[in-house]
Amino acid sequence: MARPQKSLGWHPVTETRVGIRGTNIVVLGVEKKSVAKLQDERTVRKICALDDHVCMAFAGLTADARVVINRARVECQSHKLTVEDPVTVEYITRFIATLKQKYTQSNGRRPFGISALIVGFDDDGIPRLYQTDPSGTYHAWKANAIGRSAKTVREFLEKNYTEDAIANDNEAIKLAIRALLEVVQSGGKNIELAIIRRNQPLKMFSAKEIEFQVTEIEKEKEEAEKKKTKKNI
């Protein structure tokens, strides 16, 4: 079975992705490597909507991701056509996972070289986060990270994902950004963020909004530091 070979120049995009499932919101954050000077930033999109209520972020080969995302988008609409209901997040995750698995068990093909974080809300209003990997397995998560330094981020999340942390939407967003800031160099301008609130479509954060959140986080950090030093005194 052919594997993507680094020597051939297939450098997988393995920047960190983080996904968080809040009470009324789901958040996807991605690390954005600084682009070359002459490259147009807007053509590089890491967070993709699969339907109005589901979106995904991937880590791995961008070209493979394009194929998978396209198939998933078509499946979302076919499902609506055949059964009148929008897909559940679990259904589309299972579809993507089954697709990936097929390619691990066929002749003449190689597996898709991507891991994906799929988030969204079901019809019953429950938020969901799933992760798939190239083998075709999928699991539900409360919060997870994929890509480079996923382990560090996951450890951070394990320490900091509490009921309070996700109690309101803003806190969940901050948690995602804080998790990314653990591993991202040079702060806010290397982060891309998207959220879905219940019954609302996908919202991509603009650079300004991210900066705003980052400044707030830094303020909170400073205040926490001050409190600590006061205690120590």
Binding site: S78, T82, V83, E84, D85, T88, Y91, K102, N107, G108, R109, D123, D124
Partner: protein, 311 residues
């Protein structure tokens, strides 16, 4: 993928609705013959006439049907069951060709069961209706005749869909299907309102079918009454139409003295229906009729008749 293209190998499409019936166009028919013309000229005259109705209201969905299966002028079965359960929360009233209805309902049952196993929950009534109409529309032009109302209770509450074999799939509050449907519609449109009580709904359904069987030659026998509630479907009663009709005739006329409660009920009934007919005189005995509950509940009737009753 390159190898696949070279070999022109097609992945088996497992996502398509799995039908173990021959695809459209490959039914075994005499060579050089168009199935539709064949059936029209040489085939048996298939069972068609019926009165079925279904309506949704606050407390669920009522489905009622007569029990006469006719084949032209011959009554093939006077006690057939035209309402087929699909699963705990879904029923279908059947009309058209009995054989087609029976077959397609079995296919629908299978598809819904597979869906439930894969997804972990049953699909909504809208999904079931869509699935059925999509499956049947592939056989369009081959003289399939299935006119059915799917009655169910799903996450969105009571749901009612009309599906026809040419692919029509309509949502509505009242549907009546079959040769007796115009007569049934007349009765239903007069007295239906969403906030009826359960007893009123039972009475209305039985009344509509009984009156339709009185006028339509191809409907008769008994009235089967089903009720789909939140907890599932329930077989309410099977009442003989002749007895029902006689009882309906015996109810008091409005110019006779009504009891005090009947007068109140009439006022209520009028008030709820004034938006329909503002200028007419008081309704003829409707309020009295509305309390015709299920009468014929003999021990055999309250049991669900065995599947062998299905024509």
């Amino acid at each position: 993928m390159a190898l696949q293209d070279v070999c022109k190998w097609q992945a088996p499409d497992t996502k398509e609705l799995s039908l173990c019936l021959p695809p459209a166009g490959s039914w075994a028919v005499p060579r050089g013959c168009d199935p539709q013309t064949f059936l029209q000229t040489q085939g048996p005259s298939l069972a068609h006439g019926t009165t079925t109705l279904a309506f949704r209201f606050r407390h669920g969905v009522i489905a009622a049907a007569d029990t006469r299966s006719s084949c032209g002028n011959y009554v093939a079965c006077p006690a057939s069951l035209k309402i087929i359960p699909v699963h705990r929360h879904l029923l279908g009233t059947t009309s058209g060709t009995s054989a087609d209805c029976a077959t397609w309902y079995r296919v629908l049952q299978r598809e819904l069961r597979l869906w439930a196993l894969r997804e972990g929950h049953l699909p909504s009534v809208a999904s079931a209706a869509k699935l059925l109409s999509a499956m049947m529309s592939r056989y369009r032009g081959l003289d399939l005749c299935v006119a059915t109302a799917l009655c169910g209770w799903d996450r969105s509450g009571p749901a009612l869909f009309y599906v026809y074999s040419d692919g029509t799939c309509l949502q509505g509050n009242i549907f009546s299907v079959g040769s007796g449907s115009p007569y049934a519609y007349g009765v239903l449109d007069r007295s239906y309102h969403y906030d009826m009580s359960i007893q009123e709904a039972y009475a209305l359904a039985c009344c509509a079918v009984a009156r339709a069987t009185h006028r339509d030659a191809y409907s008769g026998g008994s009235v089967d009454l089903f009720h789909v509630r939140e907890s599932g479907w329930e077989y309410v009663s099977r009442s003989d139409v002749c007895t029902l009709y006689t009882e309906l005739q015996e109810l008091p006329e409005p110019d006779q003295e009504l009891k005090a409660e009947d007068q109140e009920l009439e006022a209520e009934a009028e008030a709820s229906q004034t938006h329909l007919e503002p200028a007419t005189p008081p309704r003829a005995g409707e309020s009295g009729e509305l309390f015709l509950g299920p009468r014929e509940e003999t021990p055999e009737d309250s049991r669900m008749p065995a599947e062998t009753e299905t024509p």
